[in-house]
């Protein structure tokens, strides 16, 4: 079997733009580490390792979306719901780094581009949507599943447009940008629906078995501003 994951390969975006996004990715990840430390305790740390391992596994499962076209989960929204935005971005990054260094998936030069799209943009969009939706939807397993589905679809499309931006800035070929943007968005809506179904099933299952391990439920059970137990 030849698995090619949805990662940018080397040479599609030129060197300077790839390098600039690598710098951006390193800076953003360093910021995430700082913020994540507030969330990471003895329970969340191993849970985050599991979320990263689970995303790695599910990223191997390409599903057909059109004749001759497949897709797989990116995982940003799933990670946000289970372990929060900062740790979640680090989980997706861990997966991308392991895939790039050990599985030759996603170019080494393109690692900053891939982290920006999937770990940063996808996770940020997922977080904003989850935070917004959980204000209106019930904090139950089914409310969480609906949240995961909607947030996943949109977050995947946002991540796909990250590629369009990078291609616009440093693409090594000259294709029409509206065409690239439209084609990427169209196919990623379908991939997002697949991702949404997987993410919804996963978070609903965890919410039923161990609701106390779901970051989004824990955090929204008490006022968001009350930093209980954290000495600043």
């Amino acid at each position: 079997m030849e698995t090619t994951a949805m990662h940018i390969a080397n040479g599609i975006v030129d060197g300077p733009v790839s390098a600039a996004f690598a710098v951006l990715a390193v800076a953003a990840l360093a910021f995430c580490v700082r913020k994540a430390r507030n969330d990471l305790d003895e329970r969340l740390a191993p849970m985050a390792g599991l979320v990263a391992a689970f995303i790695f596994a599910v990223q191997m499962l390409n599903f057909q979306v059109l004749p001759g076209v497949s897709g797989h989960l990116l995982g940003g929204t799933l990670a946000v719901i289970l372990v929060g935005p900062w740790v979640g971005a680090l989980c997706v990054s861990t997966v991308l780094i392991v895939q790039c260094l050990l599985f030759a998936d996603g170019g080494l030069t393109a690692l900053g581009l891939n982290i920006t799209n999937m770990a940063l943009l996808g996770t940020a969009a997922g977080y904003l949507l989850v935070a917004g939706l959980l204000r209106i939807l019930p904090k139950t397993a089914s409310g969480l599943a609906a949240t995961a589905f909607v947030a996943s679809v949109i977050s995947v499309v946002v991540a796909s447009q990250g590629f369009v931006l990078e291609y616009a800035l440093g693409g090594t070929t000259e294709l029409s940008l509206p065409w690239v943007s439209g084609t990427m968005a169209g196919v990623h809506v379908l991939i997002g629906i697949g991702e949404g179904l997987i993410a919804a099933t996963t978070v609903a299952t965890v919410a039923k078995v161990r609701p106390d391990l779901v970051y989004a439920l824990r955090r929204f059970r008490r006022p968001a501003f009350a930093k209980v137990g954290v000495n600043a």
Binding site: N10, F56, T94
Partner: protein
């Protein structure tokens, strides 16, 4: 770590191992959304090399680490493709869990009780 959390983690890891080790063999091998978009406009020969046209992937280069023993989600030297994917997938899950959990554990917030031996925070 509590025993209950240990069981949950073990169960979760088992599911991930089954997905990466077994279910992955039934995954679609079609190009994914990005790859399919990148290839649109070019023509390809049987070996997958570009023979003409204009597409995003035209200048695509080889992966610097393409010779890695786990490259392309297989174990180099294992002839049976089912086994090769299964082992590579399982290895990936364990490595990702180990790296992730290890780094997150190191970065975690310590409770005051944790540094009783030291000079305090």
């Amino acid at each position: 770590m509590s025993k209950r959390l240990g069981w949950f983690l073990a169960g979760g890891l088992l599911v991930a191992l089954l997905l990466a080790g077994v279910v992955s063999n039934f995954a679609s091998s079609s190009p994914d959304g990005l790859d399919a978009t990148a290839r649109e406009g070019c023509t390809f020969n049987a070996a997958g090399e570009i023979t003409g046209g204009t597409c995003i992937a035209q200048q695509e280069g080889e992966h610097q680490l393409g010779d890695s023993p786990l490259a392309d989600y297989g174990i180099r030297g294992v002839g049976n493709s089912f086994l090769s994917t299964a082992l590579a997938g399982a290895a990936g899950v364990l490595i990702t869990f180990g790296a992730g959990a290890g780094l997150f554990w190191v970065a975690r917030r310590r409770r005051p009780a944790d540094d009783r031996s030291g000079t305090g925070v």
